[in-house]
């Protein structure tokens, strides 16, 4: 059965055979089993729906055989397709049993395969027709120099879901890198903690105390830096000032800052 076709797959024979009939085993040229099947089906030169599936199966199996003989490492999907086609072919050739079968009739499966090939072929043709259309910036050109005051279609915002996704992932990646890099890690004295710290020592702040003395002291190499302690303590103290729990004063810009608990009924002290 395969005799009629087999020579075409043979490389030595292929050289003597008419180019159009030669079917050279070149896996690189194919995307997958369906693409190979489509190429094979074309050699039958019939309407894809009237395709001889048995013949197609033979051709494909011969193709796989040849490819393997030539030491191509065949992808699993080629082999899966081969076994399925062999199975389909055997079912098509065997006399039909009337036994209640769970599977659909082989003819139906064959027709469906032909349909799939037809569909792929249609898409192939579509690619050809679409790409032969006049293409922007290759065949047709829009205004090279639109007027300075461009009319911007105002009801459109150019942002696709893809861009949104991409923007999200980029940032999360950045975030991951930031957190992963220990060298860049800056441990800060949290505002929360600063507030708690202040509330704790507030009762003791009866006198004007410099900010530096109020802020927790940096110890060892671990933990937040002294400037973080100072900055957070200042921020937290301003909140407490706003709440009316304490006062703050500074003689002039860059001068020492003093903090003090606000006494009940005590008038706001003027700056010295």
């Amino acid at each position: 059965m395969t005799d009629a076709f087999q020579p075409n797959l043979d490389f030595t024979a292929a050289e003597q055979v008419d180019e159009r009939e030669a079917f050279v085993v070149d896996l690189e040229g194919y995307e997958g089993p369906l693409h190979v099947l489509l190429a094979l089906a074309r050699t039958q030169k019939v309407d894809l729906l009237k395709l001889s599936i048995t013949r197609l199966a033979e051709q494909y199996l011969a193709f796989v055989h040849e490819a393997r003989r030539r030491n191509f490492s065949l992808a699993a999907d080629y082999l899966v397709m081969a076994s399925w086609l062999a199975y389909l072919k055997s079912r098509l050739l065997l006399p039909r049993t009337d036994k209640k079968d769970e599977e659909p009739p082989a003819e139906e499966m064959a027709a469906a395969l032909a349909f799939r090939l037809q569909k792929l072929e249609a898409m192939r043709k579509a690619v050809e027709t679409i790409t032969s259309r006049p293409r922007l910036k290759r065949d047709v050109f829009t205004r090279g120099d639109p007027e300075a005051t461009v009319i911007v279609p105002s009801d459109r915002i150019d942002a696709s879901l893809y861009e949104l996704m991409a923007a999200y992932v980029t940032q999360r990646r950045r975030e991951g890198q930031r957190q992963y890099n220990p060298g860049q890690r800056v441990e800060a004295f949290g505002l929360e903690a600063a507030r708690d710290w202040l509330r704790d020592i507030l009762p003791r702040l009866e006198q004007w105390t410099p900010l530096e003395q109020v802020a927790p002291a940096h110890s060892g190499t671990e933990g937040p830096t002294q400037s973080s302690f100072t900055a957070s303590t200042l921020s937290a103290s301003l909140e407490l000032v706003k709440e009316g729990a304490m006062d703050v004063k500074q003689a002039e810009a860059f001068a020492e800052l003093y903090l003090k608990r606000r006494g009940r009924g005590q008038p706001l002290e003027l700056m010295p």
């Binding site: 693409h35 011969a62 065949l74 992808a75 699993a76 799939r116 047709v140 050109f141 279609p153």
Partner: protein, 219 residues
């Protein structure tokens, strides 16, 4: 400046000026918004289209919007303006075509038409180029995301709308754009085999290459 009740000719002039000045295609509504109430934008566009017919510059409809562009047969003159097109691989073009003709469709459906799994980079290139967009989710189990073409696809290939895709009516009539697989039809789909319990089958095939040869040998 004629501000009140401009006649047809004046409306046509204004539409012409707007389309010329615009950086991108404009819809009739977008044009109309800049014209006096009740202006016959459609009529003006038809008149302009006729006027520019066969000229070096033509008026065309892309993605339901209008734009002036150079005549297709004069592309060879624009050596300086031409941009080296980003070459799309065969796989990318096929994927684009499948999405264009079947939209909205899922990744699995694209893979099922092509019979191979989509390699990395194929879809994201199309997405990045703005030819394809995420459309929504299929209301089926797993709620897969669906893809559709974006306006830029139509603009790039000078298509007025999706109805103008070459051969779309014929394909539809022939039932070729149906994504539902015929009842009981199961071609092994390796692209999806990895995702479920078919995985052992694949491993088996890899480990035992004789597997297929056996069938061939028996022939």
């Amino acid at each position: 400046m004629i501000q009140f009740a401009p006649d047809h000719g004046e409306i046509e002039r204004r539409v012409e000026a707007l389309l010329f000045a615009a950086a991108g295609p404009l819809s009739a509504a977008e044009i109309g918004r800049r014209l006096p109430e009740g202006a016959d934008v459609g009529g003006a566009i038809s008149a302009l289209r006729e006027r520019y017919q066969g000229r070096g510059v033509e008026l065309e409809c892309v993605a339901d919007r209008w734009r002036f562009r150079t005549a297709a047969d004069l592309g060879f003159l624009m050596t300086e303006e031409r941009e080296e097109p980003r070459r799309l691989s065969k796989a990318a073009l096929e994927t684009l075509a499948i999405i264009a003709y079947h939209q909205p469709c899922t990744r699995a459906e694209i893979e099922s038409v092509r019979g191979v799994s989509l390699s990395r980079g194929t879809l994201d290139l199309l997405l990045e180029m703005g030819f394809v967009k995420l459309k929504g989710r299929r209301r089926t189990p797993g709620r897969p995301v669906t893809y559709a073409t974006a306006d830029k696809f139509l603009e790039h290939f000078s298509l007025a709308s999706l109805y103008d895709l070459p051969g779309v009516q014929e394909m539809k009539a022939a039932g070729l754009l149906d994504l539902s697989i015929p009842v009981g039809f199961e071609v092994p789909d390796p692209s999806r085999a990895g995702d479920d319990d078919d995985a052992p089958l694949l491993e088996g095939a890899d480990d035992a290459p004789e597997f297929a040869q056996d069938f061939v040998a028996e022939d």
